[in-house]
Assembly symmetry: C2
Homo-oligomer: 331 residues x 2
């Protein structure tokens, strides 16, 4: 008998959404980072839900405060990718019976800290008993029609850019789940990437005002998967000739004889934005991100076709569309 673990998360989603009647004139299709409902002639309501589950989404050593804050970051990151402000949120909790009151307080404080860090408020919620710790957030915002950046607008010739470097979360998960060591120099920075991820909200909101971004996604499932999603949605390929490899990930790879590009491509939960930018408006986009206190790193070009290639001094390789997938794990 076919089970969810045989078919994997992406097929699970396809089966579910295949059962749902479509809202007439749905402003954003299933499968993008956020959902929408038409508010009036000019505006959309933007909605997003994402769930953190203790068993799969909390790495060893992460505190409940950090896990609760991360649940907020996961959701805000999708709003960041679409350039929409998260006005308020609801939290639905599944809590184990034996959770301590101190743990409960940490969860409440972590949720509030996450919401306030991004200028948002928790306005309601619901608590339940569950065997796993479950933190399900739903976030609400308002956007002008036509300003929400989808995954569909990338065009050959556009510049591919990211808001930060990749590879630290791969290295961190190898430390926490597989017992790898890291030198003192890089250890703290790598673990911080895991325990205290940041959503690039200011960057995303500033970019939304520039009209420069043709497609956008967050990198919660890894850089390779994010590129793959834009590739499929926009029907384009990529040539990445300036791989955004974090120096800590490079050092970690050197220390262990690992492939640094593998760490960079197949991490996940990095919450950087992966963007395609109209080259005529590049400096406007760059200035906007700088103005928001961030950096916009060009990593390559959008190409015709649908191949994702990466080019370094030494080699040119095809990037396989792999990423984290529930039910199956990394694939």
């Amino acid at each position: 008998m076919a089970l969810c673990r045989h078919i994997g998360e992406r097929k699970v989603i396809e089966i579910l959404t295949g059962k749902f009647d479509r809202l007439p004139n749905m402003p954003i299709p299933f499968g993008d980072d956020v959902s929408a409902y038409p508010l009036d002639e000019e505006r959309l309501i933007i909605l997003k839900t994402d769930m953190l589950v203790g068993g799969t989404d909390i790495p060893p050593g992460m505190s409940l405060w950090q896990a609760a804050r991360k649940a907020v970051v996961m959701n805000v990151s999708d709003f960041a990718a679409k350039g929409v402000k998260p006005l308020c949120m609801l939290v639905s909790l599944g809590l184990p019976r034996n959770l301590t009151v101190k743990g409960l307080e940490e969860i409440g404080e972590g949720l509030n800290a996450g919401a306030r860090e991004y200028g948002s408020y928790i306005v309601g919620g619901d608590t339940n008993e569950a065997s796993d710790l479950v933190i399900s957030l739903s976030v609400f915002g308002i956007a002008k029609k036509g300003t929400v950046i989808t995954r569909r607008g990338a065009k050959p010739g556009d510049i591919v850019a990211v808001t930060g470097l990749f590879g630290k979360t791969s290295a961190g998960l190898k430390m926490l789940l597989e017992g790898f060591e890291a030198s003192r120099e890089i250890r703290q920075s790598i673990l911080e990437a895991i325990y205290m991820p940041k959503a690039r909200l200011d960057e995303g909101l500033s970019l939304a005002l520039t009209d420069a971004v043709t497609a956008s996604i967050d990198s919660s499932d890894g850089l390779a998967w994010s590129l793959h999603e834009i590739s499929v949605s926009s029907n384009v390929g990529f040539l990445v000739d300036n791989p955004p490899l974090a120096p800590e990930a490079k050092m970690f790879a050197d220390e262990h004889g690992l492939d640094p590009l593998e760490l960079m491509l197949y991490g996940g939960e990095e919450y950087e934005l992966v963007l395609t930018i109209n080259p005529l408006l590049w400096s406007r986009a760059e200035d906007a991100v700088k103005g928001a206190g961030g950096r916009l790193i060009p990593i390559g070009r959008v190409t015709a076709g649908n191949l994702i290639m990466i080019e370094t001094q030494n080699e040119r390789r095809l990037v396989a569309p792999r990423g984290w997938e529930h039910f199956k794990g990394a694939k």
Copy 2:
């Protein structure tokens, strides 16, 4: 060390909300059936989240289709109590790895059936791996300011009314969880109350247009608890002199020598509306509910003080504020 199961759900909620910074000028306080965010001068965004957890919320014999539909009913019922239309919803799922594809399809179909039954659409969501089955819905709507019926407006002299009779779910849970039998005559009707609950959305939407309702709540935690919540929020008491006892619950009580009023008061998951009505506008309210195809049953009066009394031909008794509570169970 203090654990959540020692303190119970209501204290858990108090601790959590105590950690949350308040949205300035929050239109609806924590603890009401729905949450709100100001949209503009005239309108509020209405938001609600509620989670169904397999281990505690799915009684034996309930299909996955029914469980998924029930998750929608739980959420819509709160919108019904506030008189707000559920425009669209998001679904966040925690699915066990060994869930069958057939089970997954049932969940998708049950969610869609529930949404469409109440004129709503699922516009997005998220899937995750979890050890429990978790169905977390979040629902979105729009209301005119001042039209959302809170729990706070009940006044002595108001008529207390309900949209249906109580006691069948208590009887049904005794059958499913404690092995009680029921005669053929009532068995089907009792199990239907458990497996196919209905949200009183048409009734709630019609009532919201009458200005007759002074306070409203749904009865998901039982009739006694619903009265208690309005009692606390509005600072009033109740005299229930026409107990809304379902005939099937009366027969079930007779068959087993149980107290029928206990079944009526302490069931839960009945999703009837419990309302207080301005007596001058009673017939307007009654007509509105009839026009929506339902019935409005007067069961007593709002009183000064804070006691909840129930009066029958034989006795007058004080209703203890008990109801279902996560982490502790029925208390």
